[in-house]
């Protein structure tokens, strides 16, 4: 995807980049990088405008001893789990296996390239983040809140720029209907892939046996894709987290 390609700046050059509701300006002065950003009311597609004036909204500056004129954007998942509320609550009938596709907002790491390494300047979410609390007020967990439309057919996905599609298989092996009102996406265990010029996460597979039973969850790789960002935490190496993630209630509430 072109937006994630490295960009070389001339001295005192500014670019304006729009992704969904995020609009930001980057300026390279030769010895520093400057960033200014704000959120628009309406969402937009990807766009890059070259040689535009630098608008000072929320401005930050990074100074370097060497000139580093190459910058690139890297899509990442939010740093907290995302609790998605479905616009149209759906029920999964007993014995049914469904696959739903949900779009969650991405965050963007703004990175510069030095000869030795890549340095992250800033992480920005493509929409203003709305916080919510998952679980009991005494010992729950802080999450981001999002409202989404659950789509059950891949062809019907209306991809929004900057969003990441999360495919989820729910196999209702219990003997009762499961009402699907909201879903928690544990972003720390998911990687980002490029498929058909869209951003995708790993596939989550949930076997549902009932609220009072063990409900195993698998994170599966996506086939025919290119991995762009690996997961922040490896689920296989963390037994404590496996216990946490294997609780179905932490995914669906």
């Amino acid at each position: 995807m072109k937006i994630f390609d490295p960009m070389n700046f001339q001295e005192n050059e500014s670019k304006k980049i729009k992704i969904h509701r995020l609009e930001f300006w980057l300026r390279y002065t030769g010895e520093s990088w400057e960033l200014s950003y704000h959120y628009q009311n309406e969402y937009d597609n990807f766009s890059i405008e070259n040689n535009c004036s630098f608008e000072p909204f929320k401005t930050e500056k990074w100074v370097f001893s060497e000139p580093y004129p190459t910058i690139f954007l890297k899509p990442v998942l939010a740093d907290k789990p995302v609790l998605t509320e479905f616009k149209n609550p759906t029920s999964v009938l007993a014995g049914e296996k469904i696959c739903l596709f949900e779009q969650i907002p991405a965050s963007i790491d703004i990175m510069i390239k030095t000869p030795k390494k890549e340095i992250k300047l800033k992480q920005l979410s493509i929409i203003p983040e709305q916080l919510t609390w998952l679980g009991d007020p005494l010992d729950g967990e802080l999450c981001y809140h999002d409202t989404a439309e659950a789509v059950f057919n891949e062809k019907l996905i209306q991809y929004q720029s900057g969003a990441i599609i999360c495919p989820i298989i729910i196999n209702n092996q219990s003997n009762h209907t499961y009402p699907l009102k909201q879903l928690v996406i544990r972003t720390e265990f998911l990687g980002i892939f490029i498929k058909n010029n869209q951003l995708w996460t790993n596939m989550m597979k949930i076997e549902y046996y009932g609220d009072d039973k063990e409900n195993p969850i698998d994170i599966l790789p996506l086939e025919n894709t290119v991995q762009l960002t690996p997961p922040r935490e490896d689920i296989r190496q963390q037994s404590r987290l496996i216990k946490r993630i294997s609780n179905f209630r932490s995914f669906i509430s």
Binding site: L131, W133, L134, P137
Partner: protein, 291 residues
């Protein structure tokens, strides 16, 4: 005289006494690093189960206990009878006890408080009229730093006796406040506007759901109670920004926040009285202007 004194010393220094002295010193020299090591081992084991505050108190307690054992053992090597020592310590203890009742009360209160785990270092607590961040929980007192940067020492006894509020115990808190709107307002619209403002607030949590309810019909306004959840870190920002956002939005939507007001009803009799008073006032005015 000097010779006599020297002779007395030489008489006192017998091989048995030198042996006792060496044993006493050896006990101290070997025992001191040994109890240090033992303390470390015990704390390494206990450290897994205790929080930093309890760990600090336990470490002091174990250290002083081991030290007393070492000193008693060392004195025992010198031939001191432990029972006599304890007897003397008992009498001494009674005297000290009478003199330091408050300190012991604080000490015991401190023990109870630590075991109760009502708060820990870094928490924000409110006791009486004092609110501050806990700097340390010691055996005799708790030290606080208030938000205007004052250092306050509260004896443990006071803390045990008084009602204490731990403001930062739980990760999320609800900010509650009331706002009044004029009686001619469209209440459903007011409720909708308040909910929109909460929904747009960056610090307000989506869940648990915010509370928006009419609490009473006041003298001058209809009062809404608003309760919005925020993380404890964002609590003040949330409360502050919500009030500002609401004020601005009410102004934009022409929703009136009324001042305290009184309605005066004037009857016909009152009307006549007012007319008479005005006539008198006017006549007095005319008179003063002629003069």
């Amino acid at each position: 005289m000097d010779i006599m004194n020297n002779l007395q010393i030489y008489n006192w220094i017998t091989p048995e006494r030198i042996t006792l002295l060496v044993r006493f010193l050896l006990t101290l020299v070997i025992g001191f690093p040994l109890i240090k090591l033992l303390n470390k081992i015990i704390m390494k084991f206990l450290g897994k189960y205790l929080n930093p505050q309890s760990e600090m108190v336990a470490e002091r307690f174990i250290w002083y206990t081991l030290l007393v054992i070492l000193v008693v053992s060392a004195l025992n090597q010198l031939g001191f009878k432990l029972s006599a020592l304890l007897g003397a310590a008992g009498i001494f203890g009674v005297a000290i006890g009478f003199a330091s009742q408050t300190s012991f009360s604080n000490l015991i209160s401190g023990m109870f408080m630590i075991s109760e785990k009502s708060f820990s270092v870094g928490d924000v607590i409110k006791i009486g009229g004092t609110t501050g961040i806990v700097l340390s929980i010691d055996l005799l007192s708790v030290k606080l730093r208030t938000f205007d940067n004052q250092y306050i020492r509260i004896p443990n006894e006071n803390l045990i006796k008084s009602e204490l509020t731990n403001i930062s115990k739980f990760p999320i808190r609800r900010t509650d406040f009331e706002i009044g709107v004029a009686y001619h307002s469209n209440l459903r619209n007011v409720e909708k506007v308040i909910k929109e403002v909460i929904n747009d607030n960056h610090f307000a949590l989506k869940e648990p759901s915010p509370l928006v309810t009419i609490v009473n019909f006041g003298d001058s306004s209809i009062n809404f109670k608003i309760g919005v959840w925020a993380t404890k870190e964002n609590f003040i920002d949330c409360s502050n920004s919500l009030k500002m956002d609401l004020f601005e939005r009410f102004q934009a939507e022409n929703i009136e926040i009324p001042f305290p007001q009184r309605v005066l009803s004037i009857s016909d009799n009152d009307h006549n009285l007012i007319q008479q008073a005005l006539t008198i006032k006017n006549s007095l005015k005319e008179k003063s202007s002629i003069d």
